[in-house]
């Protein structure tokens, strides 16, 4: 199965949920026509732009809520990974041949191009795993070629700022702290590491996973890191010490995606089935204070992107044939 499908995390026909949690309110936010089916998508945090990548490696931007296609970026060949900055100003594509290319979306200029020895890390599971990522202020870009150390680049100059540690097997996911001063990596040796962004100095690490860590995210106050992976647990870690604060839950399947709400009160979790990480799998939202699940469900179609927006609501994105739909789940 081609790698770009690793960004889809569920496909199912029926909506409803599993027992023991209230039914979520899942409703269609917006559906737009697209030239072709998308393989990856994202929405800017202000909800004003939708980005989509199709299987031919062409990225496009649509203005929301109107849905006008207002920017098309040149194809870089086969591509499966698209990153956008929180504000939607920058978009980066990573290709199968090891190319990373970025554009300024305000005028469509190409601003960055690099070639790595291998294709970019893309994780095997779910949407928005962020194996590479822009920092929240867009001051930095973290790039992770598969199996290689993460490179921190100054943005938009592209100059190297730091190289992080070299865990055997590289990293599956990176996440900047809210103030961009630190970066956490979910590494394929099972360790979650936290570094100082400007120097690459290792500050702390969590070493209790036996299997690969696939997802990592900081809480909005920066004090904790939430991580999960093939061990099928979601853990809350003290970001200063690397010590376990608590285990949220043991899940039936590996964790592929984690995202914390802007108010820090909730975390969205997407699973991936071990027997095939792109098979239909549960999405859920949890209350971090109580540790209780608020709801879970199987999305109505294959999801190719997800995020908490500034309005505090969680969105996920599906695409079929020549349309893309943004859904809201509460």
């Amino acid at each position: 199965m081609s790698r770009h499908l690793a960004f889809a995390f569920a496909a199912l026909l029926a909506g409803p949920l599993f027992a023991q949690a209230p039914a979520p309110n899942v409703k269609e936010d917006r559906t737009l026509a697209t030239p072709s089916e998308l393989v990856a998508a994202s929405v800017s945090q202000n909800g004003k732009s939708l980005f989509g990548l199709d299987k031919d490696g062409i990225a496009r931007r649509w203005a929301l809520p109107g849905g006008q296609l207002d920017r098309t970026f040149p194809s870089i060949g086969r591509s499966y990974l698209m990153l956008t900055s929180d504000d939607g100003r920058w978009v980066l594509l990573a290709g199968w041949e090891g190319d990373f290319v970025a554009w300024d979306t305000s005028d469509g200029r190409e601003v960055f191009r690099a070639h790595a020895g291998h294709y970019a890390a893309g994780g095997f599971v779910s949407v928005s795993v962020n194996p590479s990522a822009y920092s929240h202020s867009s001051k930095f870009l973290a790039l992770a070629p598969a199996g290689e150390p993460v490179q921190i680049l100054d943005w938009p100059s592209g100059k190297k700022v730091a190289t992080l540690g070299a865990p055997i097997g590289g990293s599956s996911c990176v996440a900047f702290s809210p103030d961009d001063s630190r970066i956490a990596t979910a590494d394929n040796d099972g360790v979650v590491r936290i570094y100082e962004t400007s120097s690459g100095k290792l500050l702390s690490h969590f070493d209790d996973f036996l299997l690969e860590a696939f997802a990592v995210v900081f809480t909005p106050d920066g004090k904790q890191v939430i991580a999960g992976g093939a061990d099928k647990t979601v853990v809350v870690i003290d970001s200063s010490t690397g010590r376990l604060v608590r285990t949220l839950q043991h899940f039936p399947e590996p964790i592929g995606y984690l995202s914390v709400s802007p108010d820090g009160k909730r975390v969205a979790v997407a699973l991936g089935k071990a027997e095939g990480l792109t098979l239909p799998a549960e999405l859920s939202v949890w209350n971090l204070a109580s540790g209780k699940k608020e709801f879970d469900f199987l999305p109505p179609a294959l999801a190719i992107g997800a995020a908490w927006l500034a309005d505090g609501h969680w969105r996920f994105i599906t695409s079929k044939a020549e349309a893309v739909t943004v859904w809201r789940a509460d």
């Binding site: 199965m1 790698r3 199996g147 071990a274 095939g276 990480l277």
Partner: protein, 213 residues
């Protein structure tokens, strides 16, 4: 002039006797000659190509070369090889962590089925018996994962593929790119079927070359 026919070993021993070859104290001439001949047998090698680690690497695998238990479904498999440096020298006691899916393409995440951590022997050789892995749904080809480490050498993650995989339709040279994660034809190894018809086994040789740090 008649052609001189002596073995290289005999030549070395004669050199030592005549004083044109000296050996440090504590090392016998015979042993030194043996070591010289062994190291000279292997020409410089290209490093074994990288392949990505995942999914489902798991730490602390048990140290057992016998992954197959009686009754396990799937074609019995024996994989063996040696670990080299790229200069052709052998690397004794390298550590190999190896894992793969079961016959149905399913990985054991809870336990350690089809997972092992081996140490190459004093001659840098390793082997394990298992079953031919099935096709994991998210991958195109059957494969076995390796994570190889040795002091002084760059760690390597790679994967072993099988020339008999139906995906290649008998022609891995032409069709190996059907799996986008296979970056080198070198990782696809020929398969020899051995044993009697009632107990057939697939034998695969997979030697690995590591780069020095």
């Amino acid at each position: 002039m008649s052609k001189i026919q002596i073995s290289r070993r005999e030549m070395l021993l004669r050199c030592a006797a005549l004083g044109s070859l000296t050996v440090s104290p504590g090392l016998s001439v015979a042993e030194a000659a043996t070591r010289w001949l062994e190291s000279a047998q292997h020409a410089p090698m290209s490093p074994t190509p990288w392949n990505e680690i995942g999914p489902f690497y798991k730490r602390r695998a048990p140290h057992s070369a016998h992954l197959r238990v009686p009754g396990d479904p799937g074609l019995p498999l024996l994989v063996s090889g040696a670990i080299y440096a790229t200069d052709g020298n052998l690397i004794p006691e390298a550590t190999l962590e190896i894992w793969h899916s079961d016959h149905h393409g399913k990985y054991d995440l809870e336990g350690y089925r089809y997972r092992t951590s081996l140490v190459a022997d004093a001659k840098a050789k390793y082997s394990f018996d298992s079953i031919m892995p099935g096709h994991y749904p998210d991958r195109v080809c059957q494969h076995v994962h390796y994570r190889v480490t040795a002091p002084g050498f760059k760690p390597l993650t790679t994967q072993l593929y099988f020339a008999t995989d139906p995906v290649f339709e008998g022609n891995p040279d032409k069709n190996f790119t059907r799996d986008p994660l296979i970056l080198s034809r070198e990782l696809i190894r020929p398969v020899a079927l051995k044993g009697d018809p009632n107990e057939i086994r697939a034998d695969v040789e997979f030697s690995i070359a590591l780069e020095r740090l």
